[in-house]
């Protein structure tokens, strides 16, 4: 199940882990992405707080975490190939988080609600 935040991040939940990335809508609006600033493994992230940034040829945007937890993996392929997000934003998540409070997911949007809001 994938959930979306108002600030265009998604979290795809698999068991106790969440894969966090930016939505396809967000990547389209940002345009060609040239750099992704990611946290380190074992860093804690907090819901609504900045955990990194994406830089495109148009603008640099903070990444706000849709969930709280601990970073267990970062998508290292984005270091050399940030454009992967433009190619497939859903497949190319940015961080994998061990969720500390799954009840936070209730305040996020499901895919249909998110898509109907952002067309």
């Amino acid at each position: 199940m994938t959930y979306f935040s108002e600030s265009h991040e998604y979290v795809r939940v698999e068991g106790e882990f969440g894969y966090v990335g930016i939505s396809d809508y967000a990547q389209k609006q940002l345009g060609n992405i040239v750099y992704v600033d990611m946290p380190d493994v074992d860093d804690d992230v907090e819901v609504g707080e900045v955990f990194g940034a994406v830089e495109s040829v148009k603008a640099a945007s903070d990444l706000l975490s849709p969930v709280s937890g601990t970073v267990v993996e970062v998508n290292e392929s984005l270091e050399d190939s940030p454009e992967l997000i433009n190619q497939d934003a859903n497949e190319n998540w940015i961080i994998k988080v061990k969720l500390s409070d799954p009840s936070e997911l209730e305040s996020l949007m499901d895919e249909d609600t998110y898509n109907s809001k952002n067309q």
């Binding site: 060609n32 040239v34 148009k58 603008a59 940030p82």
Partner: protein
């Protein structure tokens, strides 16, 4: 734009052993430099004769596009014409040969003019004191924030670490706050583009060092709640910082000091018609209330960019009290005219009355796939500099237009006609616009490659 590019590098013209001058023999006894400070290898400098150097840079200068070439509507940058009388004043031999380390007793005249400029800037902004030392806008912002920090710390108040910045703010505001060691907290805007006072209220507490604002803001809208905002921030113990980037429309009309701002920086290279951009250098004087003057930090041991200051001095005096008041209304009229003439084909996200620049959100008809970037590139084909694009970040296709007061009606009508033509082309031949520029010396550049793999040295791998 020029349609021929001169693209040689001075290094490519270098010929080993070629010199422009033979220096006279050193008449002083030979002196060995200490080993630890002398080079082991000669620096890789280009070796050219004088004529080659002159031709090289003269040809390069032809690649430039400035306000002396054509309309330059770069929003929030106030690319106004720099009257040549400024140059005459600044090029006076009594000024150009001054040395920053000359004894003060020999520069009393220059000092008197600098003091006069300070007084004029105090009068224009409503501030009690001004320093001319900061060398550009961001340097001024840092200086201003250091004043604010110094003030709080002098009262033994070390918990004020937050700087409030509206989401429409110039990017330098949060950047300067971060450089000054302060945390940035964003304040939301309302539908009409002004600061959301309710959102502000939730962010005010005894950890707020200051709020930074531009007024009129980057959408060109006057913050009509400004006195209320000032009162709220002052009540919680914070200071108000005015980003002078958009001071142009206020000249002689109203003053940040009267609105209640405590600290302000100005950009002489914007508002006061000194050269801008690569042609600078800039100058970013900082003003503050008299009580804060003792917190001016030493950001520069010298006078600042003195000859730039003299250009601003000449500009203010040549306009005088009577005509400086006409700058803002004329600039605002020019911007509003362009807005009114184009809002049927370009999307206008904020409908309020422009008091400065204004922002379109790309073409109204988005179905063609032609973006703001494409329109900006196509403008180059028609001999115009592009406006500021993709800023402010509040909209996805921002196009921020500021013609300034310098442009005549004919010049502005020409610009409007071209933007209408591009909107038409977007419908009839979208590919033409998407692949622009076609007449510029360089076609569409690969900005992704430039961002990911910039080549900044010659040769690339020395």
């Amino acid at each position: 734009m020029n349609n021929k590019l001169y693209d040689r590098l001075i290094f490519e013209l270098s010929s080993p052993g070629r010199v422009g001058y033979h220096l006279p023999k050193n008449q002083f006894p030979h002196h060995e430099l200490r080993k630890d400070v002398s080079r082991t290898k000669a620096p890789a400098l280009p070796e050219c004769d004088e004529m080659t150097v002159v031709r090289h840079y003269t040809n390069h200068s032809g690649n430039n596009f400035g306000v002396d070439n054509g309309l330059y509507p770069l929003g929030s940058c106030t690319m106004k014409y720099n009257p040549k009388i400024n140059e005459e004043a600044a090029n006076h031999p009594a000024f150009v040969n001054l040395h920053p380390l000359q004894p003060a007793s020999t520069v009393a005249g220059a000092q008197a003019l600098a003091d006069e400029l300070k007084k004029m800037l105090c009068e224009i902004t409503g501030m009690g004191a001004v320093t001319l030392k900061p060398c550009a806008g961001a340097h001024g912002e840092l200086t201003g924030l250091m004043i604010i920090r110094g003030y709080h710390e002098s009262r033994g108040d070390f918990k004020r670490t937050k700087v409030l910045v509206p989401d429409s703010a110039h990017g330098t505001n949060p950047a300067s706050a971060a450089v000054c060691g302060l945390d940035v907290v964003e304040v939301k805007s309302k539908e009409d583009g002004t600061v959301d006072v309710d959102d502000l209220a939730t962010k005010l507490d005894d950890t707020v060092a200051a709020m930074m604002m531009t007024n009129p803001n980057t959408l060109g809208i006057f913050e009509h709640n400004i006195t209320k905002i000032v009162e709220m921030v002052h009540k919680c113990g914070g200071l108000m910082y005015y980003d002078g980037a958009n001071l142009n429309p206020l000249l002689g009309v109203c003053r940040p000091g009267d609105m209640g701002f405590d600290v302000i920086h100005l950009n002489l290279h914007k508002t006061f018609s000194t050269p801008h951009g690569g042609g600078g250098p800039g100058s970013g004087p900082v003003g503050c209330r008299k009580e804060l003057e003792s917190f001016f930090p030493t950001v520069n041991p010298y006078q600042g960019n003195f000859l730039v200051e003299m250009r601003a001095w000449a500009y203010i005096l040549s306009l005088g009290y009577e005509y400086i008041k006409k700058v803002g209304p004329t600039a605002t009229l020019n911007a509003s005219y362009i807005k009114a003439k184009l809002q049927d084909v370009y999307e206008l996200p904020i409908k309020g009355l422009s008091k400065h620049e204004f922002v379109f959100n790309g073409l109204t008809d988005k179905s063609t796939g032609v973006t703001t970037m494409d329109v900006a590139k196509r403008l180059l084909d028609y001999g115009y500099h592009a406006p500021t694009i993709y800023f402010p970040l509040l909209f996805h296709e921002s196009m921020m237009i500021e013609p300034t007061e310098s442009e005549s009606l004919e010049s502005i009508d020409g610009f409007v006609a071209v933007l209408r033509k591009i909107a038409e082309e977007a419908k009839t031949d979208p590919e033409l616009v998407k692949t622009a520029p076609h007449n510029a010396p360089i076609s569409r550049v690969d900005d992704v490659l430039a961002a990911k793999n910039p080549v900044l040295t010659y040769p690339e791998n020395p």
